[in-house]
């Protein structure tokens, strides 16, 4: 085999993993949602305080918990239409409940970008493992035959 061919092959196999590496975990950007901006009576924001959200169909059950941002804002994604209850509590005796009515059906979740099918992954992995050990065995036996 020519040296240039060997180098080209080596480069190909070294770069191969990176093309596969593009798959895996992923996150999609989403926008919208609904929420509140909570303020004290003097107009200052209720910053970094606890927020609890209750869904219209289960008023006793916590749907989501979180914290307001530095400007007293909290946004969430309602899963259904109806009257949502948002509770804000600064833990120092100031709490408020705000009802938020959602009229529009929630948008569908963005479809996740292509993921490796586990079965494809398993087959690929197993092929590489046996291929690799096969090459190793071949190399060892050739070297043994020469020596």
């Amino acid at each position: 085999m020519k040296l240039s061919t060997t180098i080209a092959r080596a480069a190909f196999y070294c770069l191969l993993p990176f093309s596969v590496f593009a798959h895996g975990l992923g996150a999609e950007r989403i926008e919208g949602g609904t929420g509140i901006a909570a303020t004290y009576s003097d107009g200052s924001p209720m910053a970094f305080v606890d927020v609890t959200v209750y869904a219209p169909d289960a008023e006793e059950e916590i749907f989501q918990e979180g914290t307001t941002d530095r400007d007293g804002r909290f946004v969430f994604f309602p899963a259904m239409t109806g009257k949502w209850m948002i509770e804000v509590d600064d833990g120092m005796g100031h709490a408020l409940r705000k009802e938020v009515e959602v009229l529009n059906e929630p948008a569908a979740l963005p479809s996740p970008s292509a993921k490796t099918n586990p079965l494809t992954g398993v087959i690929t992995g197993l092929s590489i493992i046996f291929g690799l050990f096969g090459c190793w065995a071949l190399w060892r036996s050739r070297r043994g035959a020469k020596g």
Partner: protein, 203 residues
Amino acid sequence: MHISEGILSPPVLIGGAVLSAAAVVQGLRELDDEDIPRAAVLTAAFFVASLIHVPVGFSSAHLILNGLLGIILGWAAFPAILVALLLQAVIFNFGGLTVLGVNTFILAVPAVLCRMLFVPVLRRSHTRTAFALVGALAGGLAVTLSGLLGAAAIAASGRGFRPVAGALLAVHLPVIITEALITAGIVSFLSRVKPGMLVRKKK
């Protein structure tokens, strides 16, 4: 039991990579020609085992099988685990390429220890129960030690050892039990069918 990228500090990453590289070389030297297919099969088993999830409450952990690999392969568990982890990182994004050395070290050191500890015991074992018992101990111990090593690696990168070790072991408790049972089953089966695979004849 894969530590993700971005958790460990560079000295830990480099240390793990160097130690693992040395051990992989040692493993390849010890791997006889006729043992290569066996190493391939166990690498494949280890690779697939990580996809078998054991539910733990709302979280889940997966099978590891490093005790079994250790008993059968000894030092060759290092190259076997390295190859399997590399493929898991590339194909499934488990762990990652920079943590490959540390993850290999965490999983393969208990494997090699299992061989050193338990194969002398296996040489003197005669009943199937004895083989099963040793297998169970190896399976359970390997996962436990890996959990402790993993916690140590995270602790060496600046986090508290106790809480990490506690969390890791708590999540892996069902895995420790499952692995003990599986390894016990396989070791006792091999003791009947192919004892040479467990206790190699001395050359």
